[in-house]
Symmetry: C2
């Protein structure tokens, strides 16, 4: 990621320098704390790179890039409450470090500050950027609700699952990329291409995340493997298995589901393996990956997109 | 309120007809439920009336009026979680009827839909309206946090209290009025006048609310009297008393504070009465009331403001 270092530093410096009010401390300390927890800053990086395609200096895209990252962090603060997650990036979540009320309210404030970032642009761009963020934000809420609903359902279709990850995680990457085009006065068609690129990449990336959680190695992924299996999460692997498994396999699955720890992980992993579920999921991922590269080809009519190529290589080289 | 009926019907019809998506039901049923609970719709009414000052038909101000009301309802849904309030307008709150997670997320979505309403306007007005709503929304969060902080403090100054109610409740009425001016292409000065009118009226109204909660009659106010005293709320009466009371009076206050029910209410009410606290609070309210009327005089240079006069009469005639 060396080629992106100067851009990532610029994004980080901009985020750190945000002039949140000092008071009330209970509203703004949690925001400063959470924004400083880090993260890969992939979304704002895409905004910056997409604006560069249209010869925009980084200063022109930083407020929009920050809006995307701040919005993303607002969703994490509220999601962490809903999931009762104790940790985020190895540090206590906001509702753990303070309490749920503070996490609700500082999340609300962070969302509004995200929208406020867009005030840096002239009226025409402001309207286009914030309309797209409004639309995207609503979709993210819908995706989050679908995800919560899935927990209560006995079966989820592959189609519904793909809809859910598109809304919950991919549209924001689409929005991040489209922002670059809007800032760079791209045509409507070019903006749609950027959006499609980000959205399809987001879906492929999310499927990859699901697959790595089960079939990755701890060293390569950087976190414990099998978390999704342990908490019975309805991932693409889970859904594909249940759509293909026969009675005997399903009975075995239920048997392993009742177990705990490594035994449960190993058992279900083997079932997925025997049912060829991994290949099936990879073929779905491949569709979205090809869509991504198709959009990238369209983007090449604007610029050579060398940096995008490099970033995609980095993303796709997360090993199994 | 007969003069306002047609306008209130138009507001209600517009709010009811809002094209929220049908699905996911767990996201949008709570929004539809809560928006249908009613309320006086005072804020959107002021947006409509202020736009009429500048000869705008009601259709021109309805989206902005709805944005204000939807934003206000979002704050109520989240405040109800934070306050653990079981009821709102005699019906279960969203987190009671569903659960906290659903209340957090449907509140988030309602806030975004409020911002989205402003997309009905052209780019220049859109930027002015949503910048003002961004600023106001952040202030409302700050006010809510101050209010929560006050619960933990042993003393709160009158100045801090007035800051808190200005932010938590009055700036949104200021914003509602200013919206009418922005829609009506008013001058910057006229918009500031409308904002000041709403903001000062909001403060006077909130103080009135505090005073009625202790010194009103159940018949006139329409709810049980003494609720603030029972939950030891640091209202303007409480603060003014503690700034003026001597040692003996404070000791008596602590004695009553330890009691419950009617005995507690009657005891503390008598202490307030003896210390002339009601008159002091009324004098503060009077300052904001006079400011309101001063702004109204400025507004008369645009139109005769007969309807505003009538609405203020209605508001001020909430009896003790």
């Amino acid at each position: 990621m060396k080629a992106f270092e100067s851009r990532l530093v610029a994004i980080e410096t901009y985020l750190k320098g945000h002039p949140y009010p000092q008071e009330p401390a209970h509203l703004y300390d949690p925001i400063r704390y959470f924004m400083a927890l880090g993260g890969k800053r992939i979304r704002p990086l895409f905004t910056v790179l997409c604006a560069e395609l249209f010869r925009q200096p980084i200063a022109a895209s930083l407020p929009a890039a920050a809006a995307i990252e701040m919005f993303h962090n607002f969703t994490l603060i509220h999601d962490d409450i809903m999931d009762q997650a104790p940790k985020r990036r190895n540090l206590p979540t906001v509702h753990e470090q303070w309490n749920s009320n503070i996490a609700i309210l500082s999340g609300d404030a962070l969302m509004i500050h995200a929208f406020k970032e867009l005030e840096a642009y002239d009226a025409i761009k402001y309207q286009r950027l914030s309309s797209l963020l409004n639309k995207t934000a609503i979709e993210v809420c819908i995706g989050q609700q679908m995800d919560m609903d899935f927990e209560q359902l006995s079966t989820v279709s592959q189609e519904d699952y793909l809809s859910m990850i598109r809304l919950k995680t991919s549209v924001l990457l689409g929005c991040a990329c489209a922002f670059g085009g809007i800032i760079g006065d791209a045509t409507e068609q070019q903006i749609n291409t950027l959006y499609g690129f980000g959205e399809q990449l987001g879906i492929a990336f999310q499927i990859q995340d699901d697959l790595l959680d089960t079939f990755g190695t701890e060293d390569a992924v950087g976190k414990q493997i099998g978390g999704d299996i342990l908490c019975d999460k309805k991932t693409l692997l889970y859904i594909a298995f249940h759509e293909r498994a026969d009675k005997r396999e399903k009975a075995l699955f239920e048997q392993y589901r009742g177990m705990t720890g490594e035994e449960k992980i190993a058992g279900i992993k083997q079932l997925y393996w025997d049912a060829n579920v991994l290949d099936h999921c990879k073929s779905i991922q491949e569709v979205h990956w090809k869509n991504t590269l198709g959009y990238l080809d369209e983007m090449r009519t604007v610029s050579d997109c060398g940096l995008f190529q490099e970033l995609l290589q980095f993303i796709v080289h997360r090993n199994y």
